[in-house]
C-alpha cells in the first residue's frame, strides 16, 4: 500500500469554521486540496484509512480498476480477477473466512460496476453462518444486492436469517432484519411475516431491533400485504408512539402510517397519540430533544411522519383533540414567521419541511377556513422567496389549495405573482409548476387572462411541456368560454403558435364545437379563412380550415373577397404541401363545395379529374378522387344535397382532451377544476336567477292511464322521431341509491338536479333544470317514460314545456310517483330543447328505486332473530360477497345503510363490526318486510351482504342496489 496521504480528493462537506459561511444558505463547493494532493491525471492513490477491517486485496483491486486507461483494459482486469476468484472458490484448499469475505466483496464491487455475476452466491450464504460480524455483514450485503430467486439458495438464506433472529444478539438480529427489509421477497415474507410482529412488540427487545423490525414489517407489508397478519400486535404497535426512544417512535410512525392506509379503522387510536406526540414536539425547546434536534428544529423527520399519519384520517371528532391539533398547526404556522435561528439552509429546510407537511394536513382536512387562508398567505410569501426550492414547493402546494372552496379565492389573489413566475423563472420545472397552478386557479372570472398568458408563454415554452400546455389551454378555453368566438380564436392561435403539439383530440374538439353551435359557425368560417391567408400555415390549420369551410364556407361566400372560388383556390394552394390524411380531408371538403357552390363545380371537377388525383399512387386518395368525381357527375342536385348535407351535431360527451390530459398526468395528479368546490361560486350565480324560476307542477293523477304521458308528447314533438335512439344517461344513477338529493345529470349546456321525498308508497321528486350557458334554450320540454313492464308497477306523471329558458336560469318541475308493486327497472326522464338552432335530446334514468319506499323498523334482538329464522327459505335469502370499492369507514357505511332506508339495529349482531338493519317496503298492493346484515372484513377488504325478505324478487333487487354502494 502506498504512503500515508491525509487527503486524497475533494471533501464532500467542508469542515471547520473557515468555510462554514459558504456551507450556509448558499453552498459553495470547496475543493479541499492540500499539498499532498496529486493531480487529476496521475495515478489514484488508495485511501490509507480503511475503517474497521481493512481488506488490502480489495483496495488493490479497486485501485487497479481505477487506473485502467480504457474500457477494454477494465474488462480485461475484471475477467482476470473473476478467473482468480473462481479458481479460489473451486480450489481444494478450504478458504478461511477472511478470504471468502474479501472475494465476495470483490464480486460485489464488480457487480456494482455494472458487470454480471453468476457465481459466489453459495460462498456469500456461507458467510451468514460466520461468527465474525464483518463476515456476516458482507454476506448479507451480497445477498441484499444480488438476490436471486434460486429456490435452494432462498432456503439456505432464510435459514441463516432464522438463526440470527433467534440469536438474541441485537447486532446480528439487526443484520438479519435489514436483509429481509432490503430483499423484501415473497419467500421471505412467507418465512418471517409471522415472527417479526412478535419481535417488534416484545417487552425485552432492544430499541434498535424494534426500529429495524418496524421498518422491516413496513417493507413486507408493501410487497406482500396479504402475508402480513393483522392481530393482537397491532394495538401494541400503536402504543409505540408513546415510546421514550424517539428513534423507535420515528420508525413505528412510518409503519403505522402504512398500516393505517390499509385498514384505517384498526389504527384509529393512533390519532390521539400522534396529536399528543406532535404537540409535545412543537412546543418543546429546541434543545429538549438532544440529538433529535436538527439544526435547531425539533425532530423534523418525526414531525413530518406524524403529520403524514394524521392525513390518513378526517379531522378528529373529539373537540378537545381537534383543538389541540389546531393549536399544533397554528404553532407551526407561527414559527414560520419567527426569525430563523440559524442561517444554514438545513435549518430553514427542516423547518419548512414540517410547515409544508402541516399545510398538506390542513388542505387534507379542508375544514378550517382560517387555517386554509393562513396557509395560503404563507405560501404566497414563499412565491417570492429567493430560494428556488421554496418557490417550487409553494407553487406545487398552492395547486391543491386552489381546489378547496375556502381558499380558492385567496389563491386567486396571487395570480400576478404566478404569471410573473411563468415569465421569469429560469428553471423549467418551476415554470411547469406555475402552469399547473394557473390551470388550477382558473375560473370564469380570470379565464381570459390566464389563457392569454399561457398562450404567450407557449411561444417560448420548452418543448418538453408544450403538448401539456396546449391541452390545458384547450380545456380552459372550452370550459370557460362564454363567448365562443373567443374559443375559436384561442384554438386557432394554439395551432398557429404550437401547431406541432396540437394533438388530434384538440382539433377534433374545435370542429365538434363549431358544428354543435350555429352561433359561431359564420365567425369560425371567417376566421379560418383569414388564418389560411398566411403564407406558411400549420397543417393542422389546413385540416380545421378545410373541414370548416367545407361545412360552412357558404356563410362567408357573400363577401366577394371570400367568394367560393377564392375559398377553393386558397385551400387548394395548400394541397400539395400536405400529408396524405390532410389531402383526403381536403378532397372531401371539395366535394362539399360542389354541393354548397354549384358555380365552382366545373373547376373542382377539373382538379379531381387531373392525373395527379385520379392516378394518385395512394389508394385512399385515388379512390376518393374517382368516387367524388363520379358522384358530382351522376347525382342530381337533390341527391347531392342529401348525401353532402351539413354534419349532424355531435353527441355531448366528456371532452376527449380532458381524458388525454388525465392520461398524461396520471390519475389523481390533475387538480379537479370542475368538482364541487365551484358550488360556492356556482350556486350564487344560480341564486341570482331563481326569481325567474317557473314553478310548474302536474299533480299525480292516479287514475289516468300511464301511457297517456308519452303518447301526448308524440303529438307535441312530431319531429322528435330520433328521441328513441338517444342514449340514456345513468352515470349518477347508483349514487342516488342511498341519498335523495343531488345532481343527476350534467353536460356543457344543462344541469339537472333532484330533490326527492318519499312516504310509504308515494314519492315526490323535484326536478331542477339549470341552463349553464348564456343563451336561451327554446321549446324546452320534458317527459317521463318507462318500459311496459315497469308501467304496471309504478305510476308517474310529468309533462312540462317551456317556450324559453333564459341563459343562466333555473326552472323546477315536480314529479309524483306511486309504487304499485315491487319493480326493478327505473323510469327515464326525456328532455328536448333547441339550443343554437340544433335540437338537443337528453335521456336520464331517474333514480326511482325500490328501496325508496322503505319505512325503517326498530326491533329488539330477539324479534330480529325470530323473524330472521322465519325467513329461512332458500329463495328468500340473497347473499352477495364483494370487494370494497371505497375505504371501509364505519361511519360512512352507517350513513349509507340509513340512507338506504332501513333502521340500523345496534347490539343485535354479536360481532360489533357487523351492521344489521330492518325495514318494510310499502307498495300499493302489499308490504314486504326486509332484514339485512352486512359483514365487513377489513383485512380482506371484502363485504358479505345478506338480505332476507318474504319475496324473492325484492331480496334480489335490494341486494343488487345495496351491493354496489360500498
Amino acid at each position: 500500500m502506498g504512503p500515508v496521504h491525509t487527503v486524497y480528493g475533494p471533501a464532500l462537506l467542508c469542515a471547520g469554521a473557515g468555510c462554514s459561511q459558504q456551507f450556509g444558505a448558499q453552498p459553495q463547493w470547496i475543493w479541499f486540496l492540500s499539498s499532498s494532493y496529486v493531480g487529476a491525471h496521475s495515478t489514484t492513490l488508495m485511501p490509507t484509512v480503511s475503517k474497521g477491517d481493512g481488506m488490502r486485496g480489495l483496495a488493490v483491486f479497486i485501485s487497479d480498476i481505477r487506473n485502467c486507461k480504457s474500457k477494454e483494459a477494465e474488462i480485461k482486469r475484471i475477467n482476470k480477477e473473476l478467473a482468480n476468484i473462481r479458481s479460489k472458490f473451486k480450489g481444494d484448499k478450504a478458504l478461511d473466512g477472511y478470504s471468502k469475505k474479501k472475494y465476495v466483496c470483490k464480486l460485489l464491487f464488480i457487480f456494482l460496476l455494472g458487470h454480471d455475476i453468476d457465481f459466489g452466491h453459495m460462498e456469500a450464504v456461507n458467510l451468514l453462518s460466520s461468527n465474525k460480524y464483518t463476515e456476516k455483514q458482507i454476506g448479507y450485503l451480497f445477498i441484499s444486492v444480488l438476490v436471486n430467486s434460486n429456490s435452494d439458495l432462498i432456503r439456505l438464506i432464510n435459514n441463516g436469517i432464522k438463526n440470527d433472529l433467534a440469536s438474541r444478539n441485537p447486532t446480528f438480529m439487526n443484520l438479519a432484519l435489514h436483509c429481509i427489509a432490503n430483499v423484501g421477497s415473497r419467500e421471505m415474507a412467507e418465512a418471517f411475516a409471522f415472527e417479526i410482529p412478535s419481535i417488534l412488540v416484545a417487552g425485552d427487545t432492544m430499541d434498535s431491533v424494534k426500529q429495524s423490525a418496524a421498518l422491516c414489517l413496513l417493507r413486507l407489508n408493501r410487497t406482500s400485504p396479504d402475508l402480513v397478519p393483522m392481530g393482537e400486535w397491532t394495538a401494541r404497535v400503536v402504543h409505540l408512539l408513546n415510546d421514550q426512544h424517539l428513534g423507535v417512535v420515528t420508525a413505528a410512525t412510518s409503519l403505522i402510517t402504512t398500516l393505517a392506509q390499509k385498514s384505517p379503522d384498526d389504527f384509529k387510536t393512533s390519532i390521539s397519540l400522534a396529536v399528543a406526540r406532535l404537540s409535545r414536539i412543537v412546543t418543546s425547546a429546541s434543545i429538549d430533544l438532544q440529538d433529535y434536534t436538527y439544526y435547531f428544529v425539533a425532530a423534523p423527520w418525526l414531525s413530518v411522519k406524524l403529520l403524514r399519519l394524521l392525513q390518513c384520517y378526517p379531522p378528529p371528532e373529539d373537540a378537545a383533540l381537534r383543538s389541540r391539533l389546531t393549536e399544533c398547526l397554528e404553532t407551526i404556522l407561527n414559527k414560520a414567521q419567527e426569525p430563523p435561528k440559524s442561517k444554514k439552509v438545513q435549518h430553514s429546510n427542516a423547518k419548512n419541511a414540517v410547515l409544508f407537511e402541516a399545510i398538506s394536513l390542513i388542505i387534507h382536512h379542508d375544514s378550517e377556513p382560517t387555517l386554509l387562508v393562513r396557509a395560503c398567505n404563507q405560501l404566497g410569501q414563499f412565491l417570492q422567496h429567493r430560494e428556488t426550492n421554496l418557490r417550487y414547493l409553494a407553487l406545487e402546494s398552492m395547486c391543491t389549495l386552489a381546489s378547496s372552496e375556502f381558499s380558492h379565492e385567496a389563491v386567486k389573489t396571487h395570480i400576478d405573482t404566478v404569471i410573473n413566475a411563468l415569465k421569469t423563472e429560469r428553471d423549467v420545472s418551476v415554470r411547469q409548476r406555475a402552469v399547473d397552478l394557473l390551470y388550477a386557479m382558473c375560473d370564469r372570472s380570470n379565464a381570459k387572462q390566464i389563457v392569454a398568458e399561457m398562450l404567450s408563454y407557449l411561444e417560448t415554452a420548452d418543448y418538453s411541456i408544450r403538448e401539456e400546455i396546449v391541452l390545458k389551454v384547450a380545456i380552459l378555453a372550452e370550459k370557460y368560454a362564454v363567448d365562443y368566438t373567443w374559443y375559436v380564436d384561442t384554438i386557432l392561435n394554439l395551432i398557429r403558435v404550437a401547431g406541432d403539439y396540437v394533438s388530434e383530440e384538440v382539433w377534433y374538439r374545435v370542429i365538434q364545437i363549431v358544428i354543435n353551435r350555429d352561433d359561431v359557425q359564420g365567425y369560425a368560417a371567417k376566421t379560418v379563412f383569414e388564418a389560411l391567408q398566411a403564407p406558411a400555415c400549420h397543417e393542422n390549420l389546413v385540416k380545421v380550415g378545410g373541414y370548416i369551410l367545407g361545412e360552412f364556407g357558404n356563410l362567408i361566400a357573400g363577401d366577394s373577397r371570400s367568394s367560393p372560388l377564392v375559398q377553393f383556390s386558397l385551400l387548394h394552394s395548400k394541397f400539395h404541401l400536405c400529408s396524405v390524411p390532410t389531402r383526403a380531408l381536403l378532397l372531401s371538403a371539395y366535394i362539399k363545395f360542389i354541393n354548397l357552390f354549384p358555380e365552382v363545380k366545373a373547376t373542382i371537377q377539373d382538379v379531381l379529374r387531373s392525373d395527379s388525383q385520379l392516378r394518385n399512387a395512394d389508394v385512399e386518395l385515388q379512390q376518393r378522387a374517382v368516387e367524388y368525381l363520379k358522384l358530382s357527375c351522376i347525382a342530381s342536385t337533390d341527391i347531392l344535397a342529401t348525401v353532402l348535407e351539413e354534419m349532424p351535431p355531435f353527441p355531448e360527451r366528456e371532452s376527449s382532451i380532458l381524458a388525454k390530459l388525465k392520461r398524461k398526468k396520471g390519475p389523481g395528479k390533475l387538480p379537479d377544476i370542475d368538482e364541487n368546490r365551484r358550488n360556492v361560486n356556482g350556486s350564487s350565480e344560480h341564486s341570482e336567477n331563481t326569481d325567474t324560476t317557473n314553478k310548474v307542477s302536474y299533480v299525480l293523477n292516479l287514475n289516468s292511464s300511464p301511457s297517456t304521458g308519452p303518447s301526448l308528447l308524440v303529438d307535441v314533438f312530431s319531429d322528435s322521431s330520433t328521441s328513441a335512439s338517444v342514449d340514456v344517461s345513468e352515470d349518477n344513477f347508483s349514487r342516488f341509491v342511498c341519498k335523495n338529493n343531488g345532481v343527476i345529470y350534467e353536460n356543457q349546456l344543462l344541469q339537472i338536479g333532484l330533490k326527492s321525498e318519499y312516504r310509504q308508497n308515494l314519492g315526490r321528486i323535484y326536478v331542477f333544470y339549470g341552463n349553464k350557458t348564456s343563451t336561451q334554450f327554446l321549446s324546452f320540454s320534458s317527459f317521463v317514460t318507462s318500459s311496459d313492464i315497469l308501467k304496471t308497477h309504478i305510476l308517474h306523471c310529468l309533462i312540462a314545456s317551456y317556450p324559453i329558458i333564459e341563459g343562466g336560469a333555473q326552472v323546477q318541475q315536480i314529479l309524483n310517483i306511486e309504487c304499485v308493486s315491487d319493480f326493478t327497472d327505473a323510469p327515464v326522464l326525456n328532455i328536448q330543447f333547441r339550443y343554437g338552432g340544433t335540437l338537443q335530446n337528453i335521456a336520464v334514468k331517474l333514480p326511482v328505486m325500490l328501496n325508496k319506499f322503505f319505512q325503517p323498523t326498530e326491533m329488539t334482538s330477539q324479534d330480529f332473530f325470530q323473524r330472521w329464522k322465519q325467513l329461512g327459505a332458500p329463495q328468500q335469502e340473497v347473499q352477495k360477497i364483494f370487494k370494497a370499492q371505497h375505504p371501509m369507514d364505519t361511519d360512512v357505511t352507517k350513513a349509507k345503510i340509513l340512507g338506504f332506508g332501513v333502521a340500523l339495529l345496534d347490539g343485535v349482531d354479536p360481532n360489533p363490526a357487523n351492521f344489521v338493519g330492518a325495514g318494510v317496503i310499502h307498495t300499493k298492493s302489499t308490504q314486504v318486510g326486509c332484514l339485512l346484515r352486512l359483514e365487513p372484513n377489513a383485512q380482506a377488504q371484502m363485504y358479505r351482504l345478506t338480505l332476507r325478505t318474504s319475496r324473492e324478487s325484492v331480496s334480489q333487487r335490494l341486494c343488487e342496489l345495496l351491493g354496489e354502494q360500498f
Binding site: 474497521g52 455483514q137 423534523p300
Partner: protein
Amino acid sequence: MQFMLLFSRQGKLRLQKWYVPLSDKERKKISRDLVQTILARKPKMCSFLEWRDLKIVYKRYASLYFCCAVEDQDNELITLEIIHRYVELLDKYFGSVCELDIIFNFEKAYFILDEFLLGGEAQETSKKNVLKAIEQADLLIGCIFFTYLLEKSCKLFIHYKTAADLLSVKQM
C-alpha cells in the same frame, strides 16, 4: 422513498439502493436516464423535478450527486435533509469524506445507509445513534482493534471520549 443513487459528475454510479422490486434491466435504464437528466441541469436550478410519476430530489456535494426518488405524497424538503444527514454521517465516519472514501469503502457506505434508512424510511435520525451502531460493529472485530485505533488517530477522527469507553464496548 423508492431508490437512492450516488453518482459522480462523470456519471459513474457510486452507490445505488433500491427500495422497490425492479429487474436489473429496469434499474440500469432508470439510472442511466436519471443521471443524464440531472447532469444536464444547471447549478442554480431547483433541487426537485418531476420524473415519470416520481418526484426526484437531488443535491450535489463536491464531485458527487446524491439523488432520491420519492412518491407523489412524500415531502421533498425532508428528503433533501435525509440526503444531508447521510452526507454528515459519512463525513463523521470517514472524517472529511470524499468520493474516494465511498469508492474504496463502498460496503461501509451501504452499512451506514442501512442503519439510517430502512425500507426507504428514516429508521434512526440521531447522528450519534447511527454512528454508535456502526462503530460497535467495527469494534466487534477484536484482532485488528489496535491497528484500527492507530488509523483512527492518524485521521484525528476520534469520537470516543475515553479509552474506557472503547474497552467497555469491546467487551460486549
